[in-house]
Amino acid sequence: MILIIVILLVAILIFAVDGLPLIKKKQWKELTVFGILLGFALLAQIMSDLGFPTLLSLIDRSIGTLGRAVFQHR
């Protein structure tokens, strides 16, 4: 919970530092990509806090089985 608040505050700070100048310069493409990346960061943190499986566990479930077949460790 604390981490999501910290991430949100950092995201607001980043927007204030780099996002507002983009609005002033009317660089809408840059602002869109900027917003998408910030959005993904916040979304990833929220999904983690809500208990969604981690990205690596999802990858491990799909590709990891192949890896375990190849690397036959005792």
Partner: protein, 365 residues
Amino acid sequence: MKEKGIISTNQFVWMLFSIIAAFAILDIPGLLIFHAGRDAWLSLAGAWFLDVLLAMVYAYMGLRFPGQNTVQYSISILGKYAGRIVGIMFPLFYLLVASALMRSLTELISSFFLLRTPVALTLAMSFIVIAYGIKKGIEAIARTCEVLGPIYLLSLIILFALLIPKLEIHRLKPILAQGAYPILTGIPFILSFIGTCIIMGMYIPICNKPENGFLAKFIAVTLGVSMIGLVIVFGVGIFGAERAGNMVNPGIRLARWASIGDFLQRLEIIYFALSVAAGVMTSANMMWAFSLGISQVAGLNSYKPIVYPAVLLAFVLSMTAIGNAVELYDFAIYSYMFIAIFVETGLEMLLFITALILGKRGNSA
């Protein structure tokens, strides 16, 4: 958009060396020994050879499309839409490597030195440094690697020199006791880690002598793989294959054994400090490539406005995408190899073959 920074061939070499050598201090040599036993060094030799062949392809593509990096020539070869779909995979791969590497490094720092410091705090400090470096530009990162790389190389050479009296070379025999299968499967495993220097595809267009791309990669890979090889040989030679394969980090354990007489011991802190610096520089390189790649796919004028959001995303992924150290090791051993080989070799070979078939070339500068 074109990256305006310029790097020299010397900087090119040390940047790639830092990337490869950063993996030497992590758990990768230990994981390779875990898999291939005392023959791990043979897997490494095979991976070196394949990586050199791969470097030829990247270097050739860099010259066939002068002034363009992997993302840009993906678009040139495959067109606006398919090219962007393929091109975006390279920056996403760099993001994955940076996130996983920083988390791995932070777990190492937390388990060896800063036991009570929260992982999030150590990660945040590292990413702040990375963001600052990227904002300063690739030339700042290149200059740092140019200073750090030789120091790191020298420290590794001194470490191994101090350990020679303790080495029992007979522990590397018998060769091929477990057959060829562990060696053959070990090759793509270690290649997936040293192959992260496909980032050379992003460096070639910004090098003042792009024709030196292959030479720079060859020197860097040979030096880097030699260092990893020495960690493996000394790890097996001093601890034995079974024990070295079960170690969290054989490199740091080796550094603990090094001493100069009775008055200079526990040198691992020096080794570790340099290794962490190399790891941070590797992530800085990866995140620069991610920011640049995404900005080129999106058609932006500059990558600098998206640096902070990109680094925040990498921080969040480091914290949330990886549950714990065990999950990280499972990913490193069983899953990462397939993703890496697909991006490093599969995508580039697709671009290479398509460029040859369609006769696509870049415009000469």
